[in-house]
Subunit: 151 residues, 2 copies
């Protein structure tokens, strides 16, 4: 028999969203205050720093961003001279994106801030709680995979 009401505070989609939103806003203060980056710009910086070189489509796949977000973030980082576009030899639709020296410097700085942020976040939890969140998130990711190339 169906319950008549729904407790928003116990509804997993809501709880997940609120949690992610809070954590993400907290973290965004760091790259916003330090470098004036938006979230798509941070993800672009992060993706290229990690992988070295990617096309816009690959960036979108890696960081779960809509292609218009990628396009705009890339344009802005290029304007800052934090990345360069290199043509593909065989396919002129494609550009290989890579960080410049300045982009890489910003990336390295952000990496240590990001790691510190995550460490401090997890430090608030007990060992079992840390294990639980990681296991639970991984499990859901596994069952949703594929859903997030779409958008």
């Amino acid at each position: 028999m169906e319950p008549e009401i729904l407790e928003l505070e116990r509804f997993l989609p809501y709880r997940l969203y609120r949690l992610a939103d809070t954590v993400s806003r907290e973290f965004s203060k760091i790259y916003k205050e330090r470098h004036g980056l938006t979230r798509p710009e941070w993800r672009t910086l992060s993706g290229l720093g990690q992988r070295g070189t990617m096309t816009a489509t690959e960036l979108g796949e890696q960081s779960a961003m809509h292609k218009t977000k990628v396009s705009r973030a890339v344009a802005e980082l290029e304007r800052r001279r934090w990345l360069t576009r290199n043509p593909d030899r065989n396919d002129r639709r494609i550009e290989h994106l890579a960080l410049t020296r300045a982009g890489l410097a910003a990336y390295r700085e952000m990496v240590s801030l990001a790691n510190a942020f995550e460490r401090e976040l997890l430090a608030r939890l007990s060992a079992e709680e840390r294990a639980a969140i990681v296991k639970g998130v991984a499990a859901l990711e596994g069952r949703l995979g594929g859903a997030w190339a779409k958008y």
Copy 2:
């Protein structure tokens, strides 16, 4: 010693955000297709259905929404005649919001769809995985609480 790179796919803030975003988008299809609701409108409907009556400020606290979102969602639900505003006897700044019969009907329908959605989401996980996600989310919520009345 600090790692030089950061793997976005393992970075908890990113993973949480992507997961929540995917789940939320999936769920939003339901209220969007069924009733043409936005997320703030859904949360408003849900909050009032659950609690019966609330002021705009209380709604914002319960559902973690910015006051401008609340204001707009309430205006739209009022336009649909899904809720009514009732003046407060002692404080004329306040209005007590409540669902109309039509609003309540929509709410009841949404409750069963929401419950089904959550059930199906959790059904993809093993019992331990379900326990893990719930425990992990609750733990983080507990350590972040208070952070989300702000915005």
